[in-house]
Symmetry: C2
Subunit: 141 residues, 2 copies
């Protein structure tokens, strides 16, 4: 019965593990962060501190908003500003033990949700794609 399986799947089973997740460090200049984002191809990635604890997320939107001046994009600001000044700290976060249902609720308004342990160490990310693939499997059972 499809619904039984939904409660057995945990976020830890579906997440992309930390070693495969592109991220930036909190003290990087915005120019480095934008380079990581453009080269990895991702719109937004997690931000970690030097001990690999999760701090927040940063994306192209946030960075480009920072440099959008009144007349033009002020690209010189990219080398003077740091990730720490602009990152988004108001982010949902789950543990590996959270259920698929909690994961589904979390990704309704977020393309990905960070996963961390109770000390705040970064474990990985749960993406909408992973949730959609799992729900598609469940529809056929």
């Amino acid at each position: 019965q499809g619904n039984m399986q939904l409660t057995e799947v945990l976020v830890g089973d579906l997440m992309i593990s930390s070693e495969k997740v592109a991220h930036v460090q909190i003290n990087n200049p915005l120019e480095h962060a934008l380079l990581v984002l453009v080269k990895s191809g991702y719109s937004a990635v997690p931000v970690l501190d030097s001990t690999y604890k999760l701090v927040g997320t940063i994306g192209k939107t946030i960075i480009l908003n920072q440099i959008l001046g009144l007349e033009r994009f002020e690209f010189e600001k990219l080398s003077t500003m740091r990730v720490q000044e602009v990152l988004n700290e108001d982010i949902p976060c789950l543990t590996k033990e959270a259920t698929l249902m909690e994961g589904l609720n979390a990704v309704i308004n977020h393309p990905f949700v960070c996963v961390a342990d109770k000390e705040g160490y970064f474990d990985g990310i749960l993406t909408r794609r992973a949730i959609l693939k799992q729900l598609k499997k469940n529809i056929y059972t």
Copy 2:
């Protein structure tokens, strides 16, 4: 029974209608396209021609990739290049009559999918968020 309802919901019921969709025109300079993307807050939007037919999509990633030179971001290219030169034309497309299942399959690898009629006129976009909200409803029935 949840599964019966899934086949009754059509893409046209879930899509964001064209008048609410931010888009750019095929002959806009990249600078204008980037401004629309930054001000609307969207990572990528549809590209239409002057008759409102769907041509493709464009996003921050594509634009920033174009201006990423060997040593720095070559921002001056934004005013000389046009959307037409860089847009992504290889995109999935659905009609309003497509089923939720077809919509789910299409968004597994795309944050949004364009919807157009058989003449190619733009009708709207189907987003992952709309699919996820619908699937969540179905899980509870």
